[in-house]
């Protein structure tokens, strides 16, 4: 039954897509009037609206025929930036060249994206935010879930971009804007060059194959300037850990060679002068090292909470000053993954790209993350833990971190009213009021 529903929704989406691509606003109006005239005029003895139907359907058919005659020879090139941010408009330019022998007037450009329709497995598995509040029929049919799955893959629909009149052989650059709704990768299938028929009801369409892709970084919130407390910890490996090229250690003194010292540290001049191996000694490195732990283990399929949690993590990554400290971003993506920013390691922008691709993981994988973090606690100064669910295991994890003397800030993203038991000291952020919640952070 679900497969049938999926097939029907897929068919409806196809028709909807084609109709939206073809019909202008006036076209929808005329089509609506035609359908209304057909319904009220089905018995020609009862009403005369069949006459309106005959006329309007003639208009539509002629408009369709004229729109099909639109066959421009046009090439286009899209100049996309590499990155965009969810919720922020991105502007780019498209060069259009008329290769035909006739001038092109009144055309418009619209983006075409890769097929956003979910396959059956995704449709059956996914949940729309707030789906549990829908009525039985909507939950059963899943139309709103279907719409949600499609919409989250597409940017907000943009208005058609008018293309100035193009003489044969002429090129022009137009500026297009799109507004990504969600982080991740946005795949472009091409462009659609359209022009309305003489009645202005239907668009003639030429599909320009211009593929492209854009990485959409997570949305970011304003985070108050946080003074992350804690003391510096010894970092094994010294500054070399924090330096991408060469060594930049602080020289302290010379001392006699001890077995095991690396040969690079031999001070040859002293060796020559004294006749015994002398090595250089460097100061041990102590940094502040903070961990940003993103819980990707979803208890329930609340996509909004997950997206808000990723956005919160992105906000910290972007805001925390990593000039003088290290920041480890840790989450589960198949396995426990850790990325370090600061002191010559990754840049915040690269960390955001990592976060653009984070996906939810099974709830059970939180244990692996917890083990990995606790295994590193000796190096850490403080931890910011962004949780998307609450249970006994997570509470124990926070307690264990605090027990080691770490400064821990727990953030729980989701709708919890009242706050879950045992979550004292954890700041609860509602997905729709994240910024207000973050502003309360001390």
């Amino acid at each position: 039954m679900k497969r049938l529903v999926h097939a029907v929704l897929r068919g409806i989406s196809t028709v909807d897509y084609l109709a939206r691509a073809r019909l202008t606003l006036a076209g929808w109006l005329v089509l609506g009037a035609t359908v209304a005239a057909a319904i009220t005029g089905v018995d020609t003895n009862q009403t005369v609206t069949y006459q309106a139907f005959a006329f309007l359907i003639s208009v539509l058919l002629i408009a369709l025929a004229m729109s099909l005659l639109f066959r421009p020879r046009v090439v286009a090139e899209r100049r996309l930036p590499r990155l965009a941010t969810a919720g922020q408009p991105v502007t780019y330019r498209v060069a259009v060249t008329n290769r035909g022998r006739r001038a092109l007037r009144g055309a418009t450009l619209v983006e075409r994206f890769a097929d956003p329709r979910p396959d059956y497995d995704e449709f059956a598995r996914a949940h729309e935010p707030g789906e549990e509040t829908r009525n039985w029929f909507d939950r059963r049919v899943g139309y709103f879930r279907w719409r949600y799955l499609i919409e989250r893959r597409l940017p907000r629909p943009a208005a058609e971009c008018p293309v100035p009149a193009l003489a044969p052989g002429q090129s022009v650059e137009v500026e297009m804007t799109l507004l990504p709704r969600r982080r991740g990768r946005l795949e472009f299938a091409g462009l659609r060059l359209a022009r309305t028929d003489p009645f202005g009801l239907l668009r003639g369409i030429a599909r320009l194959p211009v593929p492209g892709k854009l990485i959409v970084l997570p949305k970011r919130y304003r985070v108050p300037a946080l003074a992350l407390p804690g003391k510096r910890r010894y970092q094994p490996g010294g500054v070399s850990l924090a330096s991408s090229i060469g060594e930049s250690e602080e020289f302290v003194s010379l001392r006699d060679y001890r077995p095991g010292d690396p040969l690079q540290r031999l001070h040859w001049k002293s060796f020559a002068r004294t006749g015994r191996p002398i090595v250089k000694e460097y100061q041990d490195e102590f940094f502040e090292r903070h961990a940003l732990i993103l819980d990707t283990g979803m208890e329930a399929s609340d996509d909004r909470a997950f997206e808000a949690a990723v956005a919160v993590a992105a906000s910290f990554v972007y805001t925390l000053d990593t000039q003088e400290c290290l920041l480890d971003l840790m989450f589960v993506g198949g396995e426990v993954r850790s990325f370090t920013a600061g002191r010559g390691q990754m840049q915040p922008g690269q960390m955001l790209e990592v976060l653009a691709g984070v996906a939810p993981s099974p709830s059970g994988e939180f244990d692996a993350l917890a083990r990995a973090v606790l295994g590193r606690r000796a190096e850490l100064t403080s931890a910011i833990v962004v949780l998307v669910g609450w249970n006994e295991r997570r509470r124990e994890f926070l307690d264990a971190l605090r027990g080691t003397g770490l400064e821990v800030r727990g953030l729980l993203v989701g709708v919890f009213a009242p706050p879950p038991p045992g979550a004292s000291g954890v700041v609860v952020l509602r997905p729709d009021e994240v910024e207000a919640g973050l502003a309360r952070l001390q």
């Binding site: 009862q46 006459q51 139907f53 003489p198 202005g200």
Partner: protein
């Protein structure tokens, strides 16, 4: 895209012409056009528009309910659609009197309002309802069913006006005109084709015009041989207005007769239904066979019959010669006495004048046909009753006596044994419902040499003191025989008299209450049968709408200073934002191209220089420099420079010829 002036008014006048309400339409037209010519505006917000739209919705639902109750569902719904422009008018007028001349989409859709309550980020665009209203008005004009070419011509003209106004400018005007003429021509022939198609279908398939199966004068599917319980509803389908126990009242109301038995169905094999011509008053209909000139009527009975989707087989007493007081648009009759009326509303009331004259067709070979499958059993009974050779009167008496020994039953537990259900009924079960009795009697009489037809209709027995009339319910549906005896058709009902009492036992406990409600509905429907009689509700509704509108908007009227002139644009606030050079760039954008976001003014001017003639380009360059100084020079412009910027910019905007290419 704004609607051209007077288009909506023209559409409303066209609607008024078609609906026969020109005066009302003129008032409406004035209401929608007046805001264009006055600066009176009201500060209406999304909440106000929502309330107005809700009011219209409630009004429309109430209108549908009222009209469906008084005129029947089909006619009622169509009439409600006919008046839909009147119902929706407050929304359009409110839009035009509002500050933005647009309505929030959420005002029209409750669902969107709920979505926005849940998530305020859901978009709520401003929409122009005028275009939808225009479409509604054109379709509503068609539901008035005013025949002739006027409707088609009006739709073509008004739709053409609208299409021309919003045509894209990149196509040549002659091409548009040629295509529109082609559409109008094709539409004209198309609508003629549609009308002819329906006529053809009506001719080929009588069922098309004859309504649903229970009202089919050409076929009566019986439930002979069907197992289980036969059930019918308690709905009242007719009322016979006669005093209680009036001996002259009709006992049976005939609807249709059939002359050929096939399978378990009775068919009428006659020619097509013939249309009847009313007398000059339009409501008196002499039936075929009535004596010409004189009325020949001996009695008169008043009936009210429930209609089936505006057309129905009328229930008539035997020997009906004339129908009076029946405002039908069309009346047809077939040779076997079935009369079908096309009439608006849910109920038809009329007086049936009966007489001794016989209006049904004389018997023919079809009235003597006996299916081969039934013949052995029938022959055995005929032989048993020794009917052969007897005078018809005696045959009828013996047949009646024969069936008086049978029982009445609406339940059949086991399949028929033998060649057919009728044979089983005659020879073994000797029990059944009225269709068994009528079918068996008709075939038996035929076998005995007497022409007979299977007749269907209602039995009239239940009297209601509340209504002072006999009530006929759906479960009083009955079948009997019309036999040709001594040169006349007589009704012969062989079903045991106990059948009626048996059926009455099925009445539910709440029948009294249902009858009371049904009577109230019937009385309501009798109050208004013609549009002229009930136009009071329109005026009352309009007065209510105006009063409510005034109450709603009276306190929100904007003063003359607050009333906006041109449509509001996004507020701008930066030094030099009032520079006239912006208007110059807008005026030249069609030729030069729109200045892209972030494109420096100098770059745009350089681009313009490649398109415009040298003199204009120089002027533009000079203006651009003044503009830049006005925008960014801390010292600003001198009064003379400011005047020059303003004057030259206005001149350039006013005379685009000055900016012609390559002049």
């Amino acid at each position: 895209m704004n609607m051209p002036p007077f288009l909506l008014a023209a559409a409303l006048l066209f609607w008024g012409w078609q609906a026969g309400a020109l005066a009302v339409a003129a008032v409406f037209a004035l209401a929608v056009e007046a805001p264009r010519h006055t600066r009176v505006r009201f500060d209406l917000g999304p909440g106000d528009y929502s309330r107005i739209a809700d009011f219209c919705t409630v009004l429309f639902v109430a209108l549908i309910v009222f009209l469906a109750a008084t005129r029947g569902v089909t006619r009622g719904v169509l009439t409600a659609f006919e008046w839909l422009p009147a119902v929706l008018l407050p929304v359009v007028v409110a839009q035009r009197l509002g500050r933005a001349d647009r309505v929030n989409l959420s005002a029209l859709f409750l669902y969107l309002r709920r979505l926005r309550q849940r998530d305020a980020s859901v978009e709520d665009p401003l929409v122009d309802t005028s275009w939808v209203f225009l479409g509604v008005t054109l379709i509503a004009a068609g539901t008035a069913n005013s025949r002739g070419v006027g409707y088609f011509a009006g739709v073509v003209l008004i739709a053409g006006w609208a299409l021309y106004a919003m045509r894209p400018r990149h196509h040549a005007r002659p091409a548009w005109l040629a295509l529109f003429a082609a559409a109008a021509l094709s539409g004209y022939y198309g609508q003629m084709g549609l009308a002819q198609l329906q006529t053809m279908l009506e001719t080929l398939v009588p069922d098309w015009t004859l309504g649903t199966a229970p009202d089919d004068p050409y076929r009566s599917s019986t439930r002979i041989g069907q197992l289980g319980e036969i059930k019918a509803s308690d709905a009242i389908v007719a009322r016979v207005h006669a005093p209680e126990a009036d001996p002259a009242r009709p006992r049976l109301l005939h609807r249709a007769s059939y002359n050929r038995y096939s399978g378990t169905s009775w068919l009428a094999r006659t020619g097509p239904m013939r249309q009847l011509t009313p007398e000059p008053d339009g409501a008196t209909w002499p039936l075929a066979g009535a004596p010409a000139g004189g009325n020949g009527a001996s009695s008169r009975v008043k009936l009210s019959v429930r209609l089936n989707q505006g057309k129905s087989l009328l229930a008539l007493p035997q020997g009906t010669l004339k129908l009076a007081g029946l405002p039908a648009t069309r009346l047809k009759r077939n040779a076997l006495g079935a009369v079908q009326a096309e009439i608006e509303g849910d109920w038809a009331s009329y007086a049936a004048e009966t007489g001794s004259a016989d209006s049904d067709a004389p018997p023919d070979a079809d009235d003597m046909l006996v299916p081969d499958a039934e013949r052995p059993a029938l022959r055995r009974v005929v032989d048993e009753l020794r009917l052969r050779g007897l005078p018809p009167q005696q045959v009828v008496q013996r047949v009646e006596r024969f069936f008086s020994g049978f029982g009445y039953s609406t339940y059949r537990g086991a399949a028929a044994q033998g060649p057919s259900p009728i044979a089983d009924f005659l020879t073994r079960s000797r029990s059944g419902h009225c269709e068994y009795f009528a079918a068996a009697t008709a075939l038996l009489l035929r076998e005995a040499g007497i022409p007979a037809r299977y007749a269907t209709g209602y039995s009239v027995q239940e009297y209601s003191r509340l209504e002072q009339a006999y009530l006929v319910r759906d479960r009083h549906s009955h079948a009997w025989v019309r036999a040709r005896v001594d040169g006349r058709w007589i009704d012969l009902d062989t079903t045991p008299a106990t059948w009626f009492a048996e059926e009455e036992k099925r009445a539910p406990a709440w029948q009294g209450l249902a009858d009371l409600l049904g009577w109230a509905r019937f009385r309501l429907s009798q109050r208004s049968q013609t549009p002229a009689q009930d136009s009071w509700w329109l005026w009352a509704g309009a007065a209510l709408a105006v009063w409510l509108g005034w109450r709603l908007a009276g306190k929100r009227r904007l003063s003359r200073d607050e009333a906006p002139g041109p449509p509001a644009t996004a507020p701008v606030d930066f030094p030099g934002c009032d520079s006239e050079f912006y208007r110059v760039m807008e005026a030249l954008s069609a030729r030069v191209g729109v200045r892209a976001t972030g494109e420096p003014v100098d770059a745009w001017v350089a681009r313009a220089g490649r398109v415009l003639d040298a003199r204009t380009a120089q002027r533009l360059d000079r203006l651009a420099k003044l503009h830049q100084r006005y925008r960014f020079d801390p010292a600003g412009l001198t009064a003379a420079d400011r005047a020059q910027l303003e004057g030259e910019s206005s001149a350039m905007v006013a005379s685009p010829d000055a900016a012609r290419t390559g002049a």
